[in-house]
Symmetry: C2
């Protein structure tokens, strides 16, 4: 007999159907003549209620083993459920216990555990309702991302994880080495002799695949990356991870307008997809974790994003008469409080701010004709703040070289990046989206460590 997933039985199961399920016991309740247990197999937030009685072979012996966490295979017949909350339950004919679970020591008992405690048992926490729902939403969101880009003929590009270029700002990079750290070789000048290291030079973990994605956009027009990126930042906050996944589309023959169009279409698509793929999980988050989760998703899906320039944003902030912690003036980087005022209080919907001052943005962003702003864009959403950052890239060799020099970057390190402007350069644009940030916003989870299976943070690389 083929086994069925619990989710499919709950959705499509009919009385009198005989089925086999496999999963883990969540709870057991013994009554006089019979017993109930909830079996969860990870396919759904909801468990299937199983009814057992003396007709099950070795009933009394089996019953003793059915503790929270035990693994079972149950065969039987579906019956209409008299209880409320579910339509169908499984009348067991046969129960096999694969693995027991000692109720004295199993850390996941039927009470509420703090997320902080659950992080210490990262190997078991996915068996809880909340973490289970997070992982299913995470999978649906990742699937939506691939689907969105593949439907639009973007190629998934695996940009390198180990990189020898350090162009986006040093100090936050992890070093990758094959040296014995107790015997790092020195050269004649008593400097570290990286020529003896695995790659023959100093190597790091990547902070972004963008520059390499630009290479590929110059051959295939539309590409995207979806891979891990790293920051060695010592930030022990609820919004930072040392290792996280990032999505970075890059489009040739595309300007800042097209970039905004794609970002808006993309966000709407992934939120919509997840709502459709994981309705029970999303309702669970809305009920138990953050009561604005569905409203936030709805706001993104059903509103045309407002689009304003940075200069306009500063004007609006100055006119607001709000007391901000960080004073507002043209040239500042927008702070979270400014972004939230614009998105939540003023526009009450997502907005895209464009054309930021040159001084606060990266070297590769395209200089506007005013010579003081660049064609950058940030997507801000209510309750969320900045969710996407992107730009049109500087495709003009002379201006790019000037910017690189101004920023003190050594042009030789970027010879290949400059070559892209030398041979068949085109207007192009792209953006970046922190995958865990999005999952955090979708689910309303407070701490980003709870939306990735095994978080890496300062002093923590468990499991």
């Amino acid at each position: 007999m083929q086994t069925k997933r619990v989710r499919d039985i709950l959705r499509y199961g009919k009385p009198d159907e005989t089925v086999t399920i496999q999963g883990w016991v969540r709870t057991k309740r013994e009554l006089k003549e019979f017993a109930f247990m909830e079996v969860n197999d990870g396919s759904s937030l909801n468990s299937l209620q199983v009814v057992l009685d003396e007709s099950v072979p070795n009933y009394q012996d089996v019953l003793k083993l059915l503790n929270t966490g035990a693994s079972v295979e149950v065969s039987g017949t579906l019956v209409q459920s008299p209880g409320k909350g579910q339509n169908i339950e499984l009348k067991a004919a046969k129960v096999q216990v694969y693995g027991t679970s000692d109720p004295e020591t199993y850390p996941l008992q039927k009470k509420r555990h703090s997320f902080e405690f659950l992080r210490t048992i990262g190997h078991l926490r996915s068996r809880t309702n909340t973490l289970g729902a997070v992982i299913r939403v995470r999978n649906a969101c990742a699937t939506a991302i691939h689907k969105f880009f593949q439907e639009r003929d973007f190629l998934w590009i695996h940009t390198p994880i180990i990189t020898a270029s350090d162009c986006e700002g040093a100090g936050e990079l992890f070093t990758v080495t094959n040296f014995d750290l107790g015997k790092v070789p020195l050269d004649k000048q008593q400097k570290i002799d990286y020529t003896q290291d695995f790659f023959g030079k100093q190597a790091y973990l990547t902070v972004s695949g963008q520059l390499e994605a630009e290479v590929m956009a110059m051959a295939f027009q539309n590409v995207y990356t979806f891979g891990p990126t790293f920051r060695a930042e010592n930030s022990n906050t609820s919004r930072h991870l040392a290792e996280f996944w990032m999505v970075e589309p890059e489009m040739a023959f595309c300007d800042i307008e097209g970039d905004q169009d794609l970002a808006e279409e993309f966000l709407k698509y992934i939120f919509k997809y997840v709502l459709e793929a994981c309705p029970e999980d999303m309702e669970f988050f809305n009920k138990r974790i953050d009561k604005s989760v569905l409203e936030t998703a709805d706001n993104i899906i059903n509103n045309e994003f407002e689009r304003i320039t940075y200069t306009k944003a500063i004007e609006l902030l100055e006119k607001s008469n709000k007391k901000f912690e960080y004073a507002v003036e043209w040239g500042i980087d927008l702070q979270s409080e400014h972004e939230r005022y614009l998105a939540e209080e003023l526009f009450k919907k997502p907005l895209i701010v464009t054309n930021y001052p040159t001084g606060i943005k990266a070297f590769y962003m395209r200089l506007n004709d005013d010579n003081k702003t660049v064609a950058a864009m940030d997507v801000l959403a209510p309750k969320i703040g900045e969710i996407i950052g992107g730009s049109q890239r500087e495709e003009r060799l002379d201006i790019l070289e000037k910017r690189i020099n101004e920023m003190g970057i050594i042009p030789d390190d970027l010879w290949w990046y400059l070559d892209l402007r030398r041979y068949g350069t085109v207007p192009h644009a792209g953006f970046g989206l922190g995958f865990e940030r999005v999952v955090q916003f979708m689910t309303g989870m407070t701490n980003i460590r709870d939306v990735i299976p095994f978080p890496r943070t300062p002093l923590s690389a468990e499991f």
Copy 2:
């Protein structure tokens, strides 16, 4: 006017249709009254032929700029092509040159370049026929992998890249550190004081996500990883990369039979998908790179895989009367020559070898009742050799602990892995597939460095 991709025009374009394309000039041929150029946009191996004449504004000026590598936008009307090899061509009405390309310095001229030379211009090589085809096949294969697992309700799990556990064999691991390598801090015993490093302990780049995937299979039944893995092996061969992508499904309630079934279904699926998604590219490889590429794919798709035990394989090798470089006897690890004899000469189709001697396999593989073999499986294919390695995992706590001790692994490092056997353990199985190896086999490319956008190998981490 919306722009079209060249692939769609070549497939579906009709005479008299007006279209705009954007791409890069591959070649130009000037005749007396008119000129031809081939424009490629990366969507297809094939370029679109564009016909230009004096009716194009600034014809003579524009013509001078249309060198190999220049980027253009061309608007015009599709016409039936009189030439052979294509059905349709574009009669240009308007040509805009975005970026020029100096024929004196552009490294990609219309001659054949060696793959070795192309690796030195990794930022441009995707603009060639072969590398372009590789990247499209790679994308199709990656998409097939996600599709296969998502259709079967497997969740994509992002297992950690940075890990503090070193259980699969030291010496091949890259160290990840935030230390200034010139000033590595020492403790009182003059040993490296890793408590001062970013993660508070020694950290590495992962060699496999399997152990963490097992964690997730114990909560969701069926999961898979698809992410980068690393080996600091000093192997300068055509089959090794220091950084490569790996696919690792893991299934709860699954034994070695189910594992083999999934592996066979999976391989057939991805080969079939790529043949359908990239017919021109696959034909190109078959014609220009390796004349057995299509035959190899066909052999995988259309044969039921043979299944034999290791013991039987040894018997067959001994009976073969072949002179092998490595002598055959029970207990040896099968060498490439043995695997190829079995797959290519004897069975002439893919086969799965199971139940290998305990001594040559990893600690987590399930011990068989004979106490001398484990429930491992390797999938071998003609022309390819080993393409998948997997096993049923040891789910019995006492036997696993014994194996760990025998191998000299410190059980405390694996406390969480052992916990999976303590609480609700189930029979489970999985396998691993090196993604670049598969792309190499699919395309017939000789060197694995040519099937990944930016290869990382000893002394090389360019771009």
